[in-house]
Symmetry: C2
Subunit: 414 residues, 2 copies
């Protein structure tokens, strides 16, 4: 590999933009509330566009409201390389989740621009619409938006048609936002990890192997509610005792099967939920994620067998219903390899890891080559005002993004 | 044993009074709402007193509002034999829980009276005040009422002083309601089982061995809430996985230890209780009951050891706090033996069993000899409009009560 490492991110400038953007929708404890389509989101989108233009990009907004800034190439006919992320947040979120990937992209262009360095490919920096509310922007780009406006209504009840108008989009023309491999050759997203893997391994950079599938099931257990004093142990059909076995079965399956799958029982409700009554019903959720959908399907098949055995042994009824199935997206090897090679050249420690949270890259990866760069989240915390990635870590990740894009510019044909 | 079995309960008459009393506070589906101190309770108390007088009893009301009907003895100086129960109900209860024991006592006196049969002991039929709201009546008799009127305030907010006035009692004079072994030589209560043991054994009568202690603990488990997608299994401190182990530890301890103890986790709350977040905290209740407090204490000691091991293994924190400890009361052998002997003479199948629900007999047993007779509850259901004991079963139980009292009249010294 021969990438000249002479170009370097201006860390102070990058982190100043992170601090500035966090003021729009800023919360008292340092977090951000910038819900998609809100006045704060609209204002932040304008600020980001101003920065894009100052950095030397041209801008267009597609029908999904995605902001696409383009740093022109040496050869205008080439397919683009792209980076980006989102600037909307959860209702009480942090300042790094999403924003870092957008601001890093802009900083990359600033560095290229001030050094008069053009790539052979056009370089796009994309702000995807409403990542945290359902990824409308990246889904429109991959063509996976369901043609039902009711599904995309905003939380305050505004129709998606009106939401998109606020950000320059147009629901009726949404299909025009779809893109293909011939337009974008490769996409690389920089994002905070939102987990504790890098921290626990003491690594500076994560080379994402892919974005795990997200499978959600609802389990209902029906036993028989009865007096906790007067019902002997052997006459009970205690739904909570059954549910406890289900929780441990889920845990054991995820923990003892080789691999990096995760499974969680997060929602759990007991009826009638009174100290002196044996529980008659429990409803619980099972959330399973892995890079391999085949593996998830296998785990679910095993779980179903175990549920049958548990139901028989406890004389209760167990039903399992699929609620959600988002297919995994793998990062392509050449992007992973480029990121890892750059880390070695920059002297940054790194680890390969799956992303078990959803990202816009997941949708873009459905139609073109995709890779992701992670930087650590302190204590693995995200979707919280306590989310934190240090200025140095933000700078490191952005330097990796810069040089990865430079490397991909060499690898991908024009 | 030489009890003449010539005396016999009038089953039709008994069951007519059960049906009549159930009209006061009667609910559409056949249940009863007759909360202590309510207008319905006051009206029912008046009806029962009328029946007592018609049956040949004299009546007094003590400071706790207990109605004490006395059927005079051959020898007025002898200590009394007593029976009785309560006529108040839970907000949506059945027509047998409590009422059967009172109406059976009155029917016993009717039979004695119409046959001109006097016992050597006075026979008392007692209606205890507010059994279902806290057993104020029987506790006043045993002297265990706490001197804090706030603790006995009624559910609608009326002070206990005013509640007692409505039923002829007097809070200020409550101590005068306390009684002793010299006044009551033995007490026998007929009650529906409120459980499914007799039904499962196909027995007609239950000979109660004692009333189990009632021990309630609150357990809090603290782990660490985190993203269900991004937190690898080995980095989790999942409070629900810990709680599942606690539920099973409680179950296993109660089920695998020889004996008839019961233990229940009935209340169970998870935080934040969302499908995509690893639970950070669980609060749950543990309800343990047995005839032997020593045994309960042993089980709790074992449980605490297991909780420590579970906490260590799961890297979570577990605290256990005692909430309630009601000591057990044993039925005396001579009363149990008398009930069993009568069952044999009457050709009724029977089984010894503990009562794991509370009853007025539990308090009376703190100062004098106590025994209880159970008749089956269909499907073990109670505290419900679906509570049901057949007219034949009510008659059978009342016949056992009649002849048990006749037998005790011979056994107990005058």
């Amino acid at each position: 590999m021969t990438t000249a490492l002479t170009l370097e991110i201006n860390g102070d400038r990058l982190n100043q933009t992170i601090t500035l953007l966090a003021k729009i929708g800023g919360l008292p404890q340092g977090g951000v509330r910038r819900i998609a389509y809100s006045p704060e989101d609209v204002l932040a989108r304008q600020l980001v566009q101003d920065w894009m233009v100052e950095a030397g990009m041209t801008i267009r907004i597609d029908a999904a409201g995605n902001i696409i800034g383009t740093y022109a190439a040496e050869q205008e006919e080439a397919p683009a390389l792209a980076t980006g992320s989102h600037i909307d947040t959860v209702p009480s979120g942090g300042r790094y989740d999403g924003a870092l990937g957008v601001l890093a992209g802009i900083e990359v262009v600033r560095v290229l621009s001030e050094n008069n360095h053009r790539l052979v490919h056009p370089l796009e920096v994309i702000v995807f619409t409403d990542e945290d509310g359902g990824m409308l922007g990246s889904k429109a780009m991959s063509g996976t938006v369901v043609n039902d406006p009711e599904r995309y209504r905003s939380k305050d009840g505004t129709s998606i048609q009106n939401c998109l108008k606020r950000v320059g989009g147009d629901w009726e023309q949404l299909a025009t936002a779809q893109r293909s491999r011939s337009e974008i050759a490769a996409f690389v997203e920089l994002h905070v990890e939102q987990g504790g893997v890098l921290g626990s391994l003491d690594k500076e950079i994560g080379v994402v192997e892919g974005i795990a599938s997200h499978n959600l099931y609802a389990i209902t257990i029906t036993g028989h509610a009865n007096h906790a004093g007067t019902t002997p142990m052997h006459l009970r059909r205690d739904a909570l005792v059954t549910a406890a076995q289900v929780v441990l079965a889920v845990q054991t399956l995820a923990k003892n099967t080789p691999g990096e799958q995760v499974a969680t029982v997060g929602a759990f409700q007991v009826w009638p939920n009174t100290a002196n009554v044996i529980p008659g019903r429990v409803e619980l959720s099972v959330d399973i994620r892995d890079l391999s959908q085949t593996k998830v399907d296998n785990l679910v098949a095993q779980l179903k067998q175990q549920l049958e055995a548990i139901a028989t042994a406890t004389r209760t009824e167990i039903t399992i219903t699929p609620i959600l199935n988002v297919q995994p997206t793998l990062a392509v090897p050449q992007v992973q390899n480029a990121i890892a090679a750059i880390c070695e050249q920059l002297g940054l420690s790194y680890s390969y890891l799956p992303s078990r949270a959803s990202h816009d890259a997941q949708e873009i990866g459905r139609f073109t080559d995709m890779g992701m760069i992670f930087v650590p989240s302190a204590a693995g915390i995200s979707h919280s005002e306590d989310e934190y990635t240090s200025p140095e870590q933000c700078t490191q990740g952005t330097n990796v993004l810069l040089h990865t894009l430079l490397e991909l510019d060499k690898i991908y044909p024009v």
